[in-house]
Structures are given as C-alpha cells and as structure tokens.
Symmetry: C2
Subunit: 105 residues, 2 copies
DNA sequence: TTTCTCTATCGTATATTTACGATGAACGAT
DNA sequence: ATCGTTCATCGTAAATATACGATAGAGAAA
C-alpha cells in the first residue's frame, strides 16, 4: 500500500482489528486450541503436530505474543507457551461488545 | 509465501480464520458499526465518513461481502449495504465457542 | 440521447504476511 | 570444553493486502 491509514481510526478499532489479525490464520487458531488441550506447551510439541516448519511456527507464536494472547516462559533450553487468560477475556469481551452493537440492518 | 498451507487445517479453523481476517482492519470494523448506526447505508455515505478513497472503501466492502458478513442491494444507481445478521450470529457463536474452549493455561 | 451520479473494477505501487532453510544463542549433558 | 537439543532470528522468495487514480457500466435526470 502507498501509506497505511490505520492511524486514522480509534484506538479501540485499531486494537480490535489487531486482535482479529492475530486470529486470522488457521495455524494460530489451532495453536491456541493446542496450548489449552496439551499438557505440554513446548514449541517442539506444537511443531510436531502442525504441517509447518519450526521457523514458521515460531513466527506464528511471535504474532500471538505480540498482541498478548499468549505468554512464553523460558524453561531451560525449552520454552513453554501458554494462553494469557486475562488478555483472552479482554478480547472476548471486546468482540462480544462489537457483535452486540452491530446486530442488524 | 512459497505455498499456502492453509488447506492442511480443518474447515472450521479455516473459516474462523477467514472471519477474523475480515475483521482485521479498523476500516472494516468501523464500516460494520456505521452500517448499523446510520439510517442510510449507501457506499457514498461511508466514503464521506472514512479517511479512504472510494475505490479503497469498495475493496473493504468486497472483503466483508466475501465472508458474508454484509449484503449489498442495488437500489437504482446506488448500492445499499447492510449487515447479514445471520452470518454475524454464526461468527459470534463460533468465536465464543473458541474462546470458551481456550480459557486457561 | 446526453449528461450526471454512483459504484465496481482495473492497473499499479508499496507494504505486509507466510513460508522455509540456515544460522546463532542458550542451556543441559557428557 | 564440547556436543546435542531447543528455539528465535536472519535472509529471502512468493503471495496477499492496502491504497489510489482512472476507467467503465448502470441507471436517473435533463
């Protein structure tokens, strides 16, 4: 694009769009589910169960971390990721609010 | 990207990611709000209130229409867009389900 | 029919995303 | 100290997204 116009919107709109962006790839949706389902949340376990290279998974994790939906904790040579419940609740509430506001034609 | 790997996920994951993608730009968030707030939903009215060129707004509307969140109805030389309540409800329910499933670390 | 208005689409430029292999940094184990 | 494991980051290629001006088409209005 020539120049991004994203600054011209409200902070709420920008933030919500950003959260939506972090959910806009099936791998990231799946990662969030897996982080909750699996007992382990090591990156390696995720890579094993995704049809993506390690570097790509790491990139997706970075995007989820960027918006705060997950946290990563260093555990020796490994890294354990987990869902940030608080951020998730905030996102859910904001999306609910949006959907309720929209409603009808 | 070299090759998209999006087909390697479930239909549900792909669809949900697609809905999220359609919400991943503040202009589209704002458009959805405006379609509900304004009595008129002509494209021109949207263009007037957005910091974007007409062609760009048209492109954003196309993206929202692609995933079914809005419908466009031709009204003489104008086009009246409105939110698709059913699609919106489906999206909200799927997102709720996802968020509830994820929950905690 | 000519003109005006409204909107979609085309063409194009630039930015961002997605993907991967290769490399590097951190740490545990030998 | 060296080696193997784990993961992030770099470099890079290709696909997509964002933005705009220009144009085309459809219909109202003159």
């Amino acid at each position: 694009m020539a120049v991004s116009k994203k600054e011209e919107f409200t902070q709420e709109e920008i933030w919500l769009a950003d959260v939506a962006k972090s959910l806009s790839h099936p791998a990231r949706i799946k990662i969030l589910k897996m982080l909750n389902e699996m007992n382990s949340c090591m990156v390696g376990s995720l890579v094993d169960k995704l049809p993506l290279a390690q570097a790509t998974v790491s990139q997706h994790l970075k995007e989820l971390k960027r918006v705060g939906l997950i946290d990563g904790e260093i555990d020796g040579p490994k890294v354990c990721y987990c869902v940030n419940t608080k951020a998730l609740a905030k996102a859910k509430s904001a999306l609910d609010k949006l959907f309720n506001k929209i409603g009808c034609c």
